[in-house]
């Protein structure tokens, strides 16, 4: 926005922080409402929340109100500082992820050539938060859940990172904005009608990314860390009231942000075919396009979540190390050969 460029850094940053807050809360709220409350209910032949507001649309506000009034219980034996600090670390990790996302030619939070690299780096911070929660609770279930979560998140971070490398090779940049432009200006066999969304050329990477994303978000079939039937919600066992809700918000906000990253890397980001990507109107339409793509991708996440049973711990590690990582390495090699020769 030319308007934005005239403002000083602090004014611009205030606007960006506001937009970031809206992006995180709006997306997380939509996901909980549309996917967790309604989609799942319909899949299981029930109506879901219907009481608060028309068709239960105000259920979310009711939930927040409920959790605000709940007593905050910190177990006597818990490591109190680590226990209290864990939600801060987990939510901060989500917020740091959001900064790399572009929403239009001028609607970005930061312009940094290390974009996707930064995102991959800060996404690992949540592992520390989860381990802190598991350890600080001083509960056998929590410790086991925290360890399982750590083992799972680090194992699936490798396919996630290696899948991104394929896109970075093709776009020749780690800046997410540049990756969007590379897709918008791309051509499919000389035809540039819809650009070149990398899902077409990096289909394997897209599959790897979605699978690893499912595991990173600890959604079923990768939900051993929070397995409620064996570990009683794992690292969240001892958390109650508002602290529990914070973990919950972080879970859904992270689902939204990861889907947004996948949308930028593979589905062309905020670009609409037919409209010049530098047109000023894209600053308004771009975020909407991103929102639609995020809701679409998270639909897949939740569809899978409520369709498949849970893996065993050994099956989980086997899938990551013996299938996804070799496949990701193969994808890098093939992409590199195509890049150099064609």
């Amino acid at each position: 926005m030319s308007l934005l460029a005239e403002l000083s850094y602090w004014q611009q940053t205030s606007i960006r922080v506001g937009a970031g807050l809206v992006a995180v809360i709006l997306v997380a709220g939509t996901l909980v409402m549309v996917h967790l409350f309604k989609l799942v209910s319909f899949m299981q032949s029930r109506l879901g929340p219907m009481e608060a507001g028309p068709f239960g649309s105000l259920q979310l506000l009711a939930e927040v109100g409920k959790h605000l009034q709940k007593e905050d219980i910190v177990p006597r034996k818990a490591d109190k500082f680590v226990f209290a600090a864990a939600p801060f670390v987990v939510l901060a990790s989500t917020f740091l992820l959001v900064v790399v996302l572009p929403g239009g030619p001028d609607a970005w939070f930061i312009q940094n050539d290390l974009g996707i690299y930064l995102a991959m780096a800060v996404s690992s911070v949540s592992v520390i938060g989860i381990l802190m929660a598991g350890w600080g609770s001083a509960n056998k279930y929590s410790l086991l859940g925290g360890l399982r979560a750590t083992g799972q998140l680090i194992a699936y971070e490798l396919p996630l990172i290696l899948a991104v490398v394929g896109v970075v090779i093709q776009a020749g940049s780690m800046n997410l904005q540049t990756i969007v432009y590379a897709q918008a200006n791309g051509e499919i066999f000389g035809w540039g009608g819809i650009g070149n969304p990398y899902v077409l050329t990096q289909g394997i990477a897209f599959f790897l990314f979605l699978t690893a994303m499912q595991a990173e978000l600890t959604q079923t079939p990768f939900d051993m860390p929070i397995a409620e039937s064996e570990l009683v919600s794992g690292y969240m066992t001892e958390y109650s009231g508002m602290r529990f809700l914070l973990f919950f918000i972080a879970e859904f906000a992270t689902a939204g942000v990861f889907s947004a990253i996948a949308a930028v890397l593979f589905l062309g980001g905020w670009y609409i075919p037919g409209i010049d990507p530098d047109d000023n109107i894209m600053n308004v339409l771009g975020p909407l396009v991103m929102f639609v793509k995020v809701v679409g991708l998270t639909f897949i996440v939740f569809w899978v979540r409520f369709s498949f049973p849970r893996f065993r711990e050994d099956q989980l590690q086997r899938l990551a190390w013996k299938f996804l990582i070799p496949l990701a390495l193969l994808n890098i090699v093939v992409t590199a050969i195509f890049k150099v020769w064609i």
Partner: protein
């Protein structure tokens, strides 16, 4: 301040906002919620029975081995990124260099595989 450093300042501000947001939400709850701790309530949860033994119990050594493997592969993934960005400029030279690098990476994985480190028993 250069644009590059400024973008990291923005990242820092976002982190700070997250911490403040969590603080505000927890502070808001403190005003609204009751506080009535009892001895039984503050007990560690263990399926409704009195907890036994040490809470920080021993865990499977496999977690540690997988963490070690991860560190090795993650550090190597860091080296792949700069190459991936500049591949067009390096062309065939870069391709062969990286093929050797990924081959060595793969050897490490195969070694761990053969040693049975990827098995969860």
């Amino acid at each position: 301040m250069s644009d590059f450093l400024r973008s990291y300042l923005t990242v820092g501000i976002f982190g700070l906002v997250a911490v403040v947001l969590v603080g505000v939400l927890l502070g808001l709850g403190r005003i609204l919620r009751p506080s009535n701790p009892t001895v039984q309530k503050l007990e560690t949860y263990e399926s409704g029975v009195d907890p036994t033994g040490d809470m920080w119990s021993q865990a499977n050594i496999r977690y540690y081995i997988f963490a070690l493997l991860f560190v090795m592969f993650d550090v190597e993934a860091v080296f792949i990124f700069p190459w991936a960005m500049r591949l067009e400029a390096y062309a065939l030279f870069g391709l062969i260099e990286m093929a050797i690098f990924i081959y060595i990476l793969l050897l490490g994985l195969i070694y761990a595989w053969r040693k049975g480190m990827l098995r969860w028993v």
